[in-house]
Subunit: 258 residues, 2 copies
Amino acid sequence: MTPQPYTYLKGDSRGDAFSFVVEPFSEDFVGNLSWKFFGNQLLRCASLHAGRRGFGFDDMIRHNHVWVLSRLVIDLERMPTTGEPYTIETWVSRVYRQFTDRHFAITSPTGFNYGFATSTWALISLDSRSSADLENLPNGGFSDLTIDIEPGIGTARRVRLKQDQPIKTYVAGYSDLDINGHVNSIRYIETALDLFPVEQFKTHRPARIEALYTAEAYAADTLLYYMTPVDDTTHLVEIRRQHDNLPVFKAAIVWKPL
Amino acid sequence: MTPQPYTYLKGDSRGDAFSFVVEPFSEDFVGNLSWKFFGNQLLRCASLHAGRRGFGFDDMIRHNHVWVLSRLVIDLERMPTTGEPYTIETWVSRVYRQFTDRHFAITSPTGFNYGFATSTWALISLDSRSSADLENLPNGGFSDLTIDIEPGIGTARRVRLKQDQPIKTYVAGYSDLDINGHVNSIRYIETALDLFPVEQFKTHRPARIEALYTAEAYAADTLLYYMTPVDDTTHLVEIRRQHDNLPVFKAAIVWKPL
């Protein structure tokens, strides 16, 4: 009865797939699905998958724990464009110490593979602020729900910038926040892409984004943006909170010609 | 077969209704449907309604014309919150000179009325940049598709600010653009709301927004934000392009206590 912005496709005990379509007003200016919509759909699929298996947000908050995104690597052949249907499949491949790896495959109904994403999560106690040992959770945790398949897109590289002068300053505000009151994880990616002139998007596409989430930013935090090129195709970006100079987000952005 | 993020409810020759639900990752930090999602859904419903009747974007671009949003008034009892279903109904009430008025009613399945929106549009020739006479379109235009019902939420007040110093400067970038390459209409509303401290949203809600769209901004345009209070509940906002000091967006924002 309740309408959903996706069609639930399938789900065995371990993986789920959700089907979407690129709606007008959800694209960027070149007609690709926007990173805003795409990124938050990845997070939504992760949440649905975990929730259906008893380790989602609602389950964890009952034990005063929350999932925190630590790394997100997105590697795409291309983005779906206006009107194109696409499917996001998600599963968890492993649980190790304080971390778990969740993957995403983005495909078209005709079998075209748009690409993959790989994310790493920690489970943080709201009491102690420390991360739980995921290999030794009460009731056995969710290790038996893993699938030993990885997309093979690798992980995020180390990002260390040695720069004194930010190229941009931005004060986080109301529209940057998600429901936790933090700056939304995908919003960092968007604002990092905003560092590039739009002409860049007419000749190139961000083909791979390796994001490291190292701290939270809140409304009214002044964010400092640093960027340095590695080579012709790759740029490193770091976003720091001004008040304590702590990095909140680091990324490598790899461009490919259209 | 193609999944849609809304359910098409009904549509006589003159009005359409579309049903949505507030998905996680589409809310603001207080759990209300975000203005980003809500505003663009209004525009999407407008587009679907017009498209089904032969006067949508695709029809107009064939004659080298585009619809341009001139005014948007949104007046809400409250926003739908996480998990709540809601319906957007849209129709056109009249065609006068260079303008047409389109309305929206936002309701819940149980009959609760979230509120209304009223928008005014012009049809601009891409050749001459002038607006078409909508009362004298070829083939009779779409005057016979109007419904003589208006929500009665009034129109947008005049907004004239006399201020020298902007309170914020923002350079428009990639993520602010919609598919036309302009700064997205709803993005102005978001960035206007970003002028308020987030504490404001914990005790008050933006109950009414009266937006005037007076020019376009593009990527790399430096936008200057001006704001002045009218009284305890109402603020006027103006956004100007720095390079020619032309206002691109003006708004009155009316707050109500929660």
